[in-house]
Structures are given as C-alpha cells and as structure tokens.
Symmetry: C2
C-alpha cells in the first residue's frame, strides 16, 4: 500500500506526454512507497504507458481529461478555463488531499495562478516564491525567488528567507543553513532600501538563524551560503544568466575541440573528464522548482526536460512531502513572528 | 607629437603601482599617437618605469602626489579629501582638457563620485551608467548599467539604451546595433512597470534604432542583441553571476582532470583546446568599463587585473576618444528628444 500519492500534469512540457510517462515510470521504480495520478488524455497515455513497459506495479493511475493549458496561455485565461485541464486537476488532487503534491512541466504563470487560487497561501505568508537548488563549488545552494514576484518589499524578502531555510534543511539535510540576501556589494550600506531593510530585520531577529548579510552575484557559484534570497526579477535574471553562461562555455569548448584534426583527437582522450565536469551542470539534475509558501506542494519542472529530468522533479515533490515541508515553514514563521514580537516588547 | 593624452591613476588596484606601470608601457607600445600622465608616488613610479624598460619613448610622464584613495573609502570621504589623490588628479586632467580620458583600477564608488563631481553629466543625461563588453556566442555585446544606479526609472533606462547604442557603434563597429531591455520574459506583458514603460518609449520613438524588446538572462550569453540595458542592481548581479559561473565551471573542469593519473595525462593532450576556450573568457580581455554619460571619458579597470588587463583598459579609453564618444552620445540624445517631441506633436 502506497504511503504517498503524487499528482502529475501529463500534458505539460515540450515533449509531453511521452516525457512525463517516461519520467513517472522511472520515479515509480525509485519511490516504492508512492502512487501516481497521471492527469491527461487517456487515449494517448495508455499506449505510452504500455510501450514504456507497464504501469509501475499498479501504482500509476490515469485520470482522463482532454483539456490542457497551452504554453502561451495567460494566467488569467488559465484561471478562467484551465481548472478542468490536466494541470488544474493535478492541483485539485492536492487541494482535496488525495495527493501530497503536484508536478507539472507546463506554463509557469498558469501553474502559479491555478495553484495560488486552489491552494491559497500558508498562514503568515503573503506571496509564494519559486525556489530551487543550484550547483556551487561547495555542493548546492537554495535560491529564491526565481520569478514569481518581480517586485518584493522587505517583509516579503524576510518571509522568503524563512521559507528558503526550511527548504534547505529538507533538501540539503543541513541543520542550520546559512542565509544571505543577494546584493550589489557585501557592505551594509550597499543596495537599495528594500534589501537593506530586509537585512536589518533578519539581523534583529532573536531566532537562531544563521544570517550572513549580503552576497554578490558570484556568491551563487562560490556557494558562500546555503540559501540566497532575492526578488523574482533579479533571481530570474541570475538563474538564466547561469544557464546562458554555462551554454556559452560549452559552446566555446566544443568549437575549440573542433578547430583541427589534432584537437578532435584530443577530445576523445579528454572526453571522460569533460563529461564528468559537464554532469555537475546537467540541468536535469537540478530539475524541480518548488512554489514555496503555498498550502500544498507544487513542483514546476523545466518545460524542455526529458524523462530523467521529470523523474527528478517528482523526486523533489516526494522528498518535500516526506519531510512535511509546509508544516516546517509554518512553524518557522510562527517562531519568527513570536521572536520579532518578543524582541519589540523587550526593546532589544 | 602625441595626438591624445590619457591620464592614469597609478596607485589604484590590487597590484598598483607595478601593474599600472607595466600596463602603460604595454599601451605605449601599441598607441603611438598617445601620451600618458601617470599620477602617483614618484619615488615608487620612477624605479618601476626604469625596471620595466624605459619611458615609452618619452611619452610617459610622472605627476607626483603622495595621496591615494584606499579601497574601503566611502564615496563621500573620497569627495571630501580625495581630490588631490592620484585618482582625483587623473580626473582633474580630463576636466582641464589636458587629457582625453582617465583610467583607474581603484575604488569604483570613489571613482564614480569624483568623476561625477568634476566632470558633470552630458547635456540631457540624468545619471551615468557603467558599461562594458561581455563575450557571447556571436562575439561581444554591450551591457549597462553594471552598478552605478541600483534604482532606475523608465526615462533613465531609455537614456542608457541610447548611450549603450553609441558605445556599441564605437567599440563593436556596428552601424546600427540592436538593443533590448533585460527582463524576466520576452513577452510585452512581462516584468515590472518601469521596464515595460521604457520598452514602450523605445518602441514609440521615430528614430531608426533597432529596438528588439526584451531579452532574458540567457540572452546575454547567446548574444541575442548587441546592447543589453538594465538597472544597476540587476546588471551588477548578472555580471557577477557570469563571472561566478565561469569560475565554477573552471573549477569543475580542473577537478575532473585531477581525479586520476589517466585524466591528468589526458589534460596534457587536451590543454591547447581548453586554453583556447578559456581565452574567450579571459576577463583581462574585457577589462575597461566606461562610466557613460559623464562629460569626459573615465574608464574603470578591474581592481585585480594585471599589466595586460590594464593596457586593455587604456585601449578602451583610446578607442572611445578617437571616436569622440561623448559627442556621439550627445547628438544621439538630441535626435532622440527631437524625435520624441515630433512623435508627440503628430500624435503618432
């Protein structure tokens, strides 16, 4: 008997539904305690499941809908007519308590809108953030917000810090993750009012959080801290700049190895080491961003991923469900508010 | 007889003054039409010049001062007491018309403050921006602002676009550079009000500028456009994220080649191609950011650069002076304003 149920939008993503079916079969092999609800077009999903070799020991169940949210649909459109779509029904399964989490590789804006509408926010949280792991020199760091909120006030950044810390404890297994705000310099006087005010609040709290102040953009790659907090505009630009730079370097490496017959041969020799290095940046390994702050686990997979990447996104949903992430965030936030009130009362 | 004179802050930068002296000697070999004023401690500069092999055919002149701006000095401190420093005097030489431009590898905030105070802005420009070239898959692109203004309104972004276009014409030799605003998505509805309003103004102008709308963070590496415009907060984070990602990838490549004797040997074989690829990202090649919008050429060199990098920063100052960058910017801006007024008058 499965302990967890995860709902999947089978129709979202560039290579859906085939990539989703491949991913759920991979995930079913790894997550033996989990059942999967596959929302989408039954006529397409059944033969794919059969071709991919079975139904995960009876733990993969197809729930038919012929509606889907397209890639260019606006959030407002998705809210009006997307609730019976594969994406909408996967979220609804979380709302109804039938599933512990939902995973979709579809339209990010639509997924956020539908999830916010159906699940609402955790108590004390004003806005959700998109949160993921990125590779660093020390291992991995949590970065948020990656694009849910293009404008954030100081209070929102503080909430993101607390949510990011809970996410890091669960995903990185660190008891007391270090936290910093992304800024244009590490000195206290740097940056705009919002980031300075957020820093002040995080410094002032009586909670035992490990707040390190500010990090700059290169702190992401260095892994200076475990959790990097920023607004959704800056975070989205930073995330995509990481992706763009990695692609650019890959491009130049390939060109350099293609300049002559000698360099082409040298590539054959160097290939194992180069591929090992490349593995560290395989975006499929880091696939699965959480919409933290919602009352329920909703994971956004990269739209262009494959079955291996999608299975990893399902793994993120599972790991967060096992650790009861939402309860942790709620409790941390309650403690933070109590500590803030306490600090104000004692005048410290 | 030298046609141009460039003023140098000999005391700014991690390895100053030795790195600056090495740089100016390299530059003097390349720029035969240029004379150099070296502001700094004569007692240290003279033996360095002699050791590096001469005085650039009599075109390097030392101007003594024993004052310097330290790395941790605040802009306000620099304004109060830095005007007789090596940095302050180099800028003063530009103000007095003795030099066409100044180059410093010292404290960025102090350099900006001193330069703004002494040189003032070009007519029609509200704020200066930090502007540089970055490597892309297609070659190089201009990015600004990299940190002069952490907050920008739409009008400021429009001015940055026009200044960036002039910079691209000079530095990249493109007759009609394409321009885009950095954003979290390429659709018109994406982003915050400021970036959308700036886009609207750039779309509405009657000027023949090649405005492409929005690019995302990965557009920097792809080289989607020739000029990428953003506020100083986002631009600074993006620039440092590029640097951090390049270092992270270099780190993983090195580790991968060090895992066994076999991979170590394979590195020897692959080395020429890897070093060729690395050359594309050599920050010394892209050294020299301009403070555009000031009434005079002021170039910021990376503080940690070496003689080769500093010589490249001097080369940027020279190239911009030869092309008369400030006059071009002023004229473009005048045309833009006239076109905007014309468009408003005809109601288009």
């Amino acid at each position: 008997m499965a302990q967890f149920t995860i709902a999947l939008d089978a129709m979202g993503g560039d290579d859906a539904p085939s990539m989703v079916v491949g991913g759920v079969i991979l995930a079913a092999e790894r997550l033996l305690d989990t059942k999967f609800l596959l929302f989408g077009d039954k006529a397409r999903l059944e033969p794919l499941l059969a071709r991919h070799g079975g139904e995960g020991g009876g733990r993969i169940e197809i729930r038919h809908t012929d509606q889907r949210v397209s890639g260019d649909e606006k959030p407002s459109q998705a809210l009006r007519k997307g609730r019976a779509s594969s994406m909408g029904l996967a979220i609804e399964a979380v709302k109804q308590g039938e599933a512990v989490g939902a995973v979709s590789a579809g339209n990010t804006g639509a997924l956020m809108a539908l999830a916010k509408f159906a699940l609402r926010m955790l108590p004390g949280i004003d806005r959700p953030a998109i949160c993921t792991l990125l590779p660093t020199m020390r291992g991995q760091s949590v970065v948020l917000d990656l694009g849910a909120n293009v404008e954030c006030d100081a209070e929102t950044l503080v909430q993101f810090a607390i949510m990011g810390e809970a996410f890091a404890r669960v995903m990185l297994g660190i008891a007391r993750p270090s936290i910093a705000l992304l800024n244009v310099g590490s000195e206290e006087v740097k940056g705009h009012d919002i980031v300075r005010e957020a820093a002040q609040r995080l410094r002032d709290t009586a909670l035992p959080i490990d707040f390190k102040g500010f990090v700059e953009g290169d702190g992401i790659g260095k892994g200076d801290v475990d959790v990097i907090v920023t607004d959704g505009f800056t975070g989205n630009v930073a995330l995509k700049t990481v992706e763009g730079t990695a692609k650019l370097i890959g491009h130049h490496l390939r060109s350099s190895f293609e300049t002559s017959i000698w360099t082409k041969l040298s590539y054959l020799v160097a290939r194992p080491a180069i591929e090992a290095a490349r593995d560290h940046f395989d975006p499929r390994r880091y696939n699965g961003a959480m919409f933290v702050g919602l009352n329920g686990i909703v994971i956004k997979s990269h739209g262009g991923t494959d079955a291996f990447g999608f299975a990893n996104a399902i793994g993120v949903a599972h790991q967060l469900a096992v650790a009861n992430i939402d309860e942790r965030i709620t409790e941390d936030l309650r403690n933070f508010s109590a500590a803030a009130v306490g600090a104000a009362a004692t005048g410290s």
